[in-house]
Every structure is written in C-alpha cells, then in structure tokens.
Amino acid sequence: MTAATAHRTYLGAGFSLWSWLSSVDHKRIAILYAVSITVFFFIGGAAATLIRMELITPAGDLVSAETYNKLFTMHGVIMVWFFLIPSIPSTLGNFLVPLMIGARDLAFPRLNLASWYLYILGGLFTIGALVAGGVDTGWTFYTPFSTMFSNTHVIAVAAGVFIVGFSSILTGINFIVTIHKMRAPGMTWFRLPLFIWSMYASSIIFVLATPVLAMTLFLIAIERFFGVGVFDPALGGDPLLFQHLFWFYSHPAVYVMILPAMGVASEIITCFARNRVFAYRSMAYAVLAIAIIGFLVWGHHMFVSGQSIYAGMMFSLLSFLVAIPSAIKVFNWTATLYKGSISFDAPMLYALGFVGLFTIGGMTGLFLASLALDVHLHDTYFVVAHFHYIIVGGAVMAFLGGIHFWWPKITGRIYSDGWARFAAILVFFGFNLTFFPQFILGYLGMPRRYHEYPPEFQVLNVLSSAGASILAIGYLLPLAYLFWSLRYGAAAGANPWRAKGLEWQTPSPPPTENFVVTPVITEAPYAYAESRNG
C-alpha cells in the first residue's frame, strides 16, 4: 500500500496518538480494545504462570497460602472481566458488526468510545488493587469472607469490575440497536451472518445480566465498608442471597464468552469447507436459545452450598436442557464439513480445535450438572478443567481463529501461514496437556484453590504445568509473526480467503466509512457451494 492510498483507509485517518484515543470509528476502537485486552491477557497469564509453577511440587513452597489465594483471584478477575468477556465482542464484534450488516458505523459511536474508556478506568482500579496487594476472595467474591473477613482490597476490585460492567452494558446497547436498525437494504434477519446472531444474543445477556452484577458488587462494597448488610448471617442475612445474585449474572456471563466464539466458528468453518452452514435457521435459533435458557441455570453453581434440593433438581434439569442447542450447533458444524472442500489454513485449525475442545468441555459440564456427581466433583480440579476447556479450549481458540481469519481485513497484511499453523497446533497440544490431567486430578479428589496437595497428585500436576509452558509459547508466537506481518507482510487484497460476507466486499483495510456505496444484499449467507459448483 502506498502512502497515497493509505490515507483512504481507516488506518490513515490520522496518525497521532490522540487521533486514536479520540476516534469514534468503530474500527479504531476495536483496535484500542485489542491492544488493551492483550495486555490484560498477559497479566492474567502471569498469575497463571505463578500458579502452575507453585503446583509443580506438592509442598506450598513457592508462595504463601495467602499469596496463592491472591494469584488465583487476580487470574480469575482479570481473565474473566478484562479479557474473556470483552475479547470477541469488543474487538472482532466492534470491527465487524457494521461491516457485516452494511452500515457505516455502530448506532452510537461516541458511546462506543465511552465503553472503551470505562473499560480502561475499571482496569486501572483493578491493576491498582493488584499493585497495592491484590484480592484473595476468589473471582467469585463469596460472602461473608469478602464482606467481613478478607483483609485485602475487595472494594477497589469490586469498583473496578462495577465500572467495566458498564462498558459491557453500553456495548450491548450499541450492538442491539445497530443490528435492529442499521442493516443495509436486503439484509433481512435470516440473511445475517451467524456471527451477527451471536453478537446479538451476547448483547442481550450483556444488558440483562450485567446490571445485577453491578448492584451485587455495590452491595458487597457497602456491606464491607459499613459493617452491616443483607449478607451478614449474624443479623439474619443469608450468604446464599449473594450467591444467587452473583450467579444470576455470572452464569449467563459464560455464555457471553462462548456465543461469540460460536459465531466466529460458523464464519470460519463455512469459508474453509467452502460450504453453506448446515441448517442456518436452527443455528440462529440455537444461539438465542442458549442465551435465554442460560439465564435459568445459575443454581448449578450452588448445589452443595445449602440450596434447597428441589431448586437444585430444577436447576440441574435446566442445565441439561441448555446443552441441547449447544449440541445442535456442534452437529451442524460437523454437517457443514460434510461434502465440503476443506482446507487447513490456520483459522480453520483453530476453528476445528474449538469444536472438539468445546464438545469435551460441554459434555463434562453435564457431569457437573448431575446433582450426585457434583457432590463429589464440586470445588475440585474437575470443575477447573471443565471451564478451561470451554473458555480456553473453546473461546480463546475461536478468538485466535477469528484474529487470524480477519487479520488481513483489519490490517491489510498477510501473516506467515506456516508459523500460524505451527502456533495453532502448539496451542492445541499445550492446552490438552495442561488441562486434561486436571480432569483426572479432580476426579481423584484434588481440590481447587489449594497451593499444596498430597504427593500422589504430583505427576499429573507436573504434566499440567509442562503443558502450560507449551501453551504459553503457543500464545506468544502469534504476537511475533502477526506484528512482523504489519511491517513485512504481503498486501492482503480485499478478499484473500475468497470468503462470502459483506466485510470482504470492501478493501483491506476498509475505508473509514466502510463502504463507498451502501451495499444491497440479494443472496443468502454462506453461498459457497454455489460458487464451487457454478
């Protein structure tokens, strides 16, 4: 790209730092988010590194128990709220939603920038608390420990998460309004890419669940500060009330983490199988069903906490039900591959890895949703393995796949496919080595959140830590070759993958206004098979 053409893309619309920090262009804001979440990812990853290093030996010899509590707490807080939840929606979502529907920008661009600043402000509170000594309550902030007994900076972190919650809420409002009101002519609901459906469903969760978390954190902070409140058993309050309020948000939150990943997977699998997605409507409905039913299952985090057994039975049944639309999606992705023309570029490797690892994670969720099994497995490493399979093996793999798929569009550059495939395989291998032993450890009874363990668990822990080191390399490699491509990569062209979808009909990188002429949509999405046969 020459300097003459550069100024016509969104990257060329100003080169100063202030032009980036004050931009209301959804594409620039997406990049602001991408940089920020990467920083937080590696901070959370540093905590994970220390955790896995401690767990190489049975004795608690690297850090004290109190420090270990702070490590897993900060790992959880940072990874959940400052990496996972914003990852796909605020980076890929922000960049792609207007492009995929044929709009010039989101409905409320200034609100979008405000979202990012709220994210940064929340992050500063949290990092500040980290530097000042951290928090040790677990990312779940259970009372009465968080309100009465912890001696760490609970209020500061609660404030940080409260603030970043509003970042999510504003993003959710923006996406819902944009998708409802700003689709290009001919872009009917059932011609939307599945990525848009997943952004829509995730946004519904953002706006309905996050406010409850915000108020719950506010309740914790006030109770801690004033020494009196609704969660205090001495006054007749109920710690379980906190858990109900907390998990009402935090369970749907995990669907916020996976639904965008599912959207990414649908985009990648169709492109690299050169096939229409199998049963498009059921994929769209499944995404909505997951979002809605996902609001009804939160009690499965509380089976052994004193919750009524009858409520437990109901939550268990609903948890089984929410697996059905997820399974439908896995079947449909598989069916999309059937009679396709499959190529194994890096994005596809990530997407296929996503499908397999998500399936394992999802099925182990069913084990945990069974009341009797959960009595044995709750608070063990089985749970840790289950959710890491979904959010790391699933969501992070899909996120990386999406970054690799849309990198040419976002930057106008091609990266080294060889290095990218190598990194993808390294991540897959390192991930499984890290987390599969944890299923066994949990089944054998090793509790989570302990910095020491009986010696008979050491072999599995060493395998897990070894895997973590491989995983770390797998995550660092993309930083290297992706940044290398920014300087030395070949020019991408508008559509290097020959993909369908409006975002590929505009130059790479796109101009600030996205489309020179507003597109008119006349065909169904994923019209790959027609191009293959015709």
């Binding site: 109920d238 309020l245 009524s308």
Partner: protein
C-alpha cells in the same frame, strides 16, 4: 417512522389524576385489615401506576413492538431472578 402523535395535554392530566387516585387508594387500603391481601393489592396498584406511566407518559401506547418487548424483557427477567431465587428460599 416512530414519531409519536402528539396527545392533547388533557390526556396527560387525566393520567395524572388516575395516578393520584391510585396513590390514595393504595395508601387507604393499607389501613384496612386485609392480611396478606394488603401486599397483593399494593403491588397490583403499583403495577397499574407503572403501566399508566409507561403507556402514556413514556409513549409505549404508540411505540414499535420492539420497544414494548424491551420494556417487558426488563420486568420479565427481574421476575426470573426473583422467582427462581425464591424456588430455593421457599423450598428449603
């Protein structure tokens, strides 16, 4: 597309009169010994007031159905939070 027809000022004043009447009703009925019915009546009257405000003052009457869906979703989801939590507290 959405440009609410401008209602006459009279409509708003009538709604206000309805709201004040309901306020007096709820206050008055609170002093009647109805047992558990007091709570039900008060909540029902509160819901009626809220509906009057939302339908007339907030123009849900002439709004696109998606807006009404958004309003309903807020209340419905709150009902889920309270209802499913109660399934625990009432069944212990």
């Amino acid at each position: 597309m959405i440009s609410h027809p401008v209602a006459p000022a009279r409509t708003y004043v009538l709604v206000w009169l309805g709201l004040v009447t309901l306020l007096l009703l709820t206050l008055g009925s609170a002093y009647l010994p109805l047992g558990w019915l007091n709570g039900v009546v008060n909540l029902a009257i509160a819901a009626a007031k809220a509906l009057l405000v939302m339908i007339f003052f907030m123009h849900l009457r002439s709004s696109h159905y998606v807006l009404r869906l958004a309003a309903a979703a807020g209340f419905f989801w709150l009902a889920i939070l309270i209802g499913l939590s109660l399934s625990d507290f009432l069944a212990r």
